[in-house]
């Protein structure tokens, strides 16, 4: 079962997204903020990371920089799942390991799963 790390600071949204991903046959763990995500990267060893941008404590980019600074974690594909998708250039985000961007304000459950499947 493919391991997906979901980094989302809204507990209720995290529950909904985790249910969607679990129902699609993935193993999911939730990190509510960047420090918890770093810990889970080491212990859970995710194969895909679904990442919210605006997190409590620090932004997703601090986490992405941390991930990119190690050869193993830098290879983990990231799906950015955000309310501010319109503010990003998908091409520039590839430098951070971001393979797909999903707009939380318009996404349907199948959009999230399609994005995850596309980076497997």
């Amino acid at each position: 079962m493919t391991r997906v790390l979901l980094v989302e600071d809204d507990a209720w949204l995290a529950e909904v997204e985790a249910s969607i991903i679990t129902d699609a046959g993935y193993e999911v763990q939730i990190a509510p903020h960047a420090p918890a995500a770093i810990e889970l990267v080491d212990s859970f060893k995710p194969e895909i990371i679904v990442l919210d941008v605006l997190l409590a404590g620090s932004t997703a980019f601090a986490l992405l920089n941390e991930l990119q600074s190690y050869s193993d974690t830098g290879m983990v594909p990231v799906v950015l799942c955000t309310n501010i998708a319109d503010q990003f250039d998908a091409k520039k985000l590839k430098e951070y390991g971001v393979m797909r961007v999903v707009d939380k304000t318009t996404m349907y459950p199948e959009d999230l799963i399609a994005a995850i499947r596309s980076v497997e």
Binding site: L13, S19, V53, G57, S58, T105, Y108
Partner: protein, 227 residues
């Protein structure tokens, strides 16, 4: 960021959440209990968003409105705010409580505006506190300066030094849009600073290694001597 853009930004998150909760409700496999929980979350999220729209309306009318300032017992007001917020905090697996003196100095404020400030700070604290922790409403009197401070303390990720410097700078130049924390547009603090200003008070923040306190300072009431 203009207040209008900030308002749109702040409303995006609860609206997106309500939409996702509604989409989830369409799942046939949900149990009755799961369905009721999602409905409860939808109602509470909508109420949070409505509070923001109500605060925005109030802030926009501050100049033209008259606000009665009166001696207020901050302990009683804090307890009212806690009662109002308890269902929301419980639904998020957190608690909220009043800490401090049972008989503090009275302060001079408008009850509705002060309540809105504390609801806003508490809402912010809910978002940043860790599951299982309590958010504390705290009252502190500074007798020499004749000021009473009412603060909301959360226990969550510490603000980075960079974010703290930015926050301090913005607090000094309030009222302006204040970037309180990374994902915040600062609209909540902007509204709180407007409300505090209307009551001749000011807002501020204290950084802790395990969270933060956002507070409002208001003049102590001289009526204490009659109590």
């Amino acid at each position: 960021m203009t207040p209008l853009v900030a308002a749109a930004h702040e409303l995006k998150a609860p609206l997106a959440l309500v939409r996702q909760l509604a989409l989830r409700l369409g799942d046939d496999k949900l149990t009755t209990a799961e369905r009721q929980r999602l409905l409860h979350q939808t109602v509470l999220t909508t109420e949070r968003a409505l509070r923001l729209t109500s605060d925005l309306t109030k802030a926009a009318r501050l100049d033209s409105a008259m606000f009665q300032l009166e001696p207020i017992n901050p302990d009683q007001l804090c307890r009212d705010v806690v009662s109002e917020l308890q269902p929301l905090f419980a639904a998020y697996g957190r608690s909220v409580a009043v800490k401090g003196r049972r008989h503090p100095l009275l302060l001079v404020a408008n009850r509705d505006l002060l309540r809105r400030i504390l609801l806003g700070f508490s809402d912010n604290a809910l978002h940043y506190s860790q599951p299982g922790t309590a958010v504390h409403l705290q009252i502190q009197a500074f007798k020499k300066s004749g000021v009473v401070r009412v603060g909301v303390r959360d226990f969550g990720p510490a603000l980075s030094s960079d974010m703290w410097r930015t926050l301090q700078k913005k607090l000094e130049t309030a009222p302006q849009t204040i970037h309180a924390r990374p994902e915040s547009s600062g609209l909540g603090l902007y509204i709180a600073s407007q409300f505090a200003d209307a009551m001749n008070g000011r807002i501020g923040a204290v950084r802790h290694k395990d969270g933060a306190t956002f507070y409002v300072e208001l003049q102590a009431s001289n009526q204490l001597s009659f109590l």
